[in-house]
Symmetry: C2
Subunit: 317 residues, 2 copies
């Protein structure tokens, strides 16, 4: 049983949804019209033993991550967070002080990103902690960026540096400490001279998430290994074998960076520059969908490798 198979079953059944569903399942956020407003919604689970290790992580960082990874979805739509509701299922022996620290961290993180927690549900059981965060967002006049829309010839760009998000470097562990790219996503979506054709956040690894973009847009992509911006964590992992650098940059999950495609002329305005705190790198090009693999990698020696689904399917791991 693979989570992607289950998800695709849900997406396939999106046919026949009522008109008020503006963005059906399959994007970083879904959207529904309520009154005159388009309301974007995403839901993410943070499970002890799956997405986080409570034995090895401070409770404050767990609470923080529960919110920031949901906000990464909002960033990917170029939208603004409006509020969140949080459900928690806690082991009975979790401890009240620890529970309070957890909720304080969740609330403070959410407020810091202007995303107040305005509802929730708490249950207790004899199994590991599971947090479920639902975030609501609005476009406030800017159309959300979807996964579909990439066109042949588009530059494939990413923010920040990729790979090795689990590796602590000088006290910073990216998958716990990252800043969701809300300001960058918003600036890209709002800026006519740079507005991407499509966008996604990198949670499963560039190989897999770029493949999602390609499939949604019915195109393919070629990535240049030499152009990948590699994180310090990935450098640490590949210290004994630099040829592994691109594997970590393409395959590791939980970068929580943005990946987008943009026309070549727009790309010229932003590639190599900082957009609201994040440096944009061009890593490849959108090519025609010829029925082959969605994502291909051009290695330094010029050979081209198919790399669909190299990414880390972290939710089901």
């Amino acid at each position: 049983m693979r989570e992607l198979d289950l998800l695709s079953r849900i997406y396939d059944s999106a046919v026949g949804l009522p008109d008020r569903v503006d963005i059906p399942p399959g994007d970083d956020m879904g959207a529904v019209r309520i009154g005159d407003s388009r309301v974007l919604v995403s839901v993410d689970q943070l499970a002890d033993t799956v997405h986080v290790d409570l034995d090895a992580t401070s409770i404050e960082k767990v609470g923080r991550k529960a919110i920031t990874r949901s906000l990464s979805d909002v960033a990917a739509m170029g939208s603004l967070p409006c509020g969140a509701v949080v459900a928690a299922c806690l082991p009975r022996d979790f401890g009240e002080e620890r529970a309070n620290s957890l909720f304080d961290a969740i609330r403070c993180t959410a407020e810091a990103y202007n995303c107040p927690v305005f509802g929730g549900d708490i249950a207790m059981w004899d199994h590991p902690m599971l947090l479920t965060v639902t975030v609501l967002a609005g476009g406030d006049g800017i159309a959300p960026l979807l996964r579909c829309g990439a066109r042949v010839g588009d530059a494939v760009c990413v923010t920040g540096r990729l790979g090795g998000s689990q590796v602590p470097v000088d006290g910073y562990t990216h998958h716990l400490d990252f800043e969701p790219r809300l300001a960058t996503g918003r600036a890209l979506a709002a800026g006519k001279p740079v507005r991407p054709n499509c966008m996604i956040d990198l949670s499963d690894g560039l190989a897999q998430d770029l493949a999602h973009l390609c499939r949604a847009s019915v195109v393919a992509a070629i990535v240049d290994a030499d152009d990948l911006p590699v994180s310090r964590g990935a450098h640490a992992l590949a210290a004994d074998d630099p040829t592994k650098l691109w594997q970590h940059a393409m395959g590791d999950g939980e970068d929580y960076e943005l990946c987008f495609t943009v026309t070549a002329d727009k790309a010229a305005h932003i590639v190599g520059r900082e957009v609201q705190g994040a440096v944009v790198s061009r890593v490849g090009t959108i090519i025609e969908n010829d029925g082959g693999p969605s994502v291909r990698l051009r290695l330094p020696d010029g050979t081209i490798q198919p790399i669909d689904r190299l990414g880390w399917e972290h939710r089901g791991k």
Copy 2:
């Protein structure tokens, strides 16, 4: 560690929420303004071994209940469901066929109540199933009914019959098979001659949920044991001791009926009548908060018992 203590910590911290949070934590649904719309949101968890027993329940009924118990919150606000997102954490050995049946049941139930599932998240782990359903609703011109607003002299009313929701009677098991009181809640909220002063849905048992209403409204309530509408399930449980009838009607959880208070003149229009498929019963009266227990029960012999917190705290059981 009690879930109510944790919840009250979250509610207390609602002070200082931004203006766009219309309904802070503590009601059946919270609400936030997005654009020009007020968006109501509730989140509920359905955990195997806590809220449902997967070994003893068909997967279709599990999927159904995940949606209907969330819709009961919408009914309690007198609002209209707009859509839902569903997060599922499934044991790795759950089985694909069973997972598909579960999602089909969730989707079909949601669609039947005009509440399309437009997003979700799936994870897998080595622990029991946990479903988390977030429902969005709108007022569509009708102000939502809150828990606060009960006034001294109000009639305390309920819909349907109470207690014994776990007991199968002629193939009907209320906690699995109930219809959320969406049409009744809406008719009450929308009807000026009958609009309640406050409303809640009965998930933790009348004693506890009425106490929530009283605390939110800073009043108390007196309930007449003789006036309680008792379900067939509760009758079955109290067959050997009819004095236990009121205990089941007041204390058992998961009725998913509506409890509301309404001025005496408005009550005359609806008590003993059917409102959109649900018979309304008057079970008591709102009295002043004199610092004593929030809810008191007048027994058939005229004695009065305090019964705060008799209800079933099902989420933490």
